[in-house]
């Protein structure tokens, strides 16, 4: 489609020239998506936010290497995934450094955000939170490439092609990863999925 310019690519062209406004626009647009993806991998709110910040700083630093013909979101999530992988490797090397004790929420930031369940009764809310925690746990236990493939597919609505680019694997392998992730989730969450209630 000649003449159609990806607005993100146009913004990145400006970022390459040092335009801070264009950069801020991109951060604003993608911060939540990137943070969600990281949060599903490292479910500590503070660490997820810090790593999200690192992702965008890396975007600024690597702007020179961005090719306009590439889709920005694909490039962005490749950076996010690589940084997540580095963090996972670092944690595996130095398990004591992990900041998993998620008590360190900073004073200047809002607390963990959950879906607004004000209309749900407290016991139901409790159950729902428990269920969410369980899903989060199962999601985290998935192999990294399965989890990333599923999240990019479900939450970012990326095409199989774009996901395969982020993961650096073939199209069929990407489809297979998503399928296996779904099957694992169904298997681990079977008690709830069968009855609609967590035992």
């Amino acid at each position: 489609m000649a003449g159609v310019v990806d607005p993100d690519a146009a913004l990145m062209t400006r970022v390459k020239q040092g335009d801070m406004e264009a950069f801020a626009e991109l951060v604003e647009k993608y911060k939540q998506n990137v943070a969600n993806m990281i949060f599903r991998t490292l479910p500590d709110a503070t660490e997820a936010e810090d790593l999200t910040q690192v992702v965008f700083i890396q975007v600024w630093k690597s702007a020179e290497r961005y090719r306009v013909e590439a889709k920005f979101s694909t490039w962005l999530f490749t950076i996010a995934r690589n940084l997540c992988l580095n963090e996972i490797r670092r944690r595996n090397r130095h398990p004591a450094d992990s900041l998993d004790a998620a008590t360190g929420e900073r004073e200047d930031q809002p607390g963990r955000q959950f879906t607004d369940f004000r209309e749900v009764s407290p016991p139901d809310l409790l159950l729902r939170n428990e269920l969410q925690a369980k899903v989060q746990e199962v999601l985290q236990a998935l192999p990294e490439n399965q989890r990333t493939a599923l999240l990019l597919f479900k939450e970012e609505e990326m095409s199989y092609e774009a996901i395969s680019e982020v993961l650096g694997c073939s199209l069929s392998a990407t489809k297979s990863l998503i399928h296996r992730a779904r099957e694992t989730l169904k298997d681990k969450l079977k008690p709830y999925l069968n009855t609609g209630e967590w035992p």
């Binding site: 951060v27 604003e28 969600n36 900073r106 607390g111 963990r112 899903v135 989060q136 999925l193």
Partner: protein, 166 residues
Amino acid sequence: MNSNQINTLSVKLLRTGLSASEQAQHDAWLQESPENLALWTEEHRLNQLLTELPIAPLSSNFTSQVVQQVRREQRPVHQSKGGGWIDSVRRIWFRPLAATATLGMVAFLVYRQQSHLQQKALVESMKLVSGITTAPSIELLTDFEAIRRLGTPNSEPDLTLLAVLQ
């Protein structure tokens, strides 16, 4: 509906939900084979769970924090860019310049030493020459005719002059 079509619908459900025609197709399929209802309900519940995952909390000033951080990290780079030519002269040219300067200094000293030695030798040879050649006597220098003859090239020896000189 074959397993491929079911899978396609499951994937669509996972992401965007079903269109009206897909929903109709799906309902018809369930009516034909109600044993698949449990399977489909599983899919539906899984999709629901993934949709309801909590969003990551972010500071309200997240974007400005990132921009500030980038500016902070950028500053030293810009500073070094500002004084870049001084840095590059220091880093790239310092050694060659120092080597050239040293070489120049050595060459100058050698040259000075050489010329000093040459001058010394010249003085020595002049001293030698001055010892051999004696200046004409005062009487000769007052004799105009003799002086005139001294400057005149003549193939024949001037016996008178020679006699006077002796």
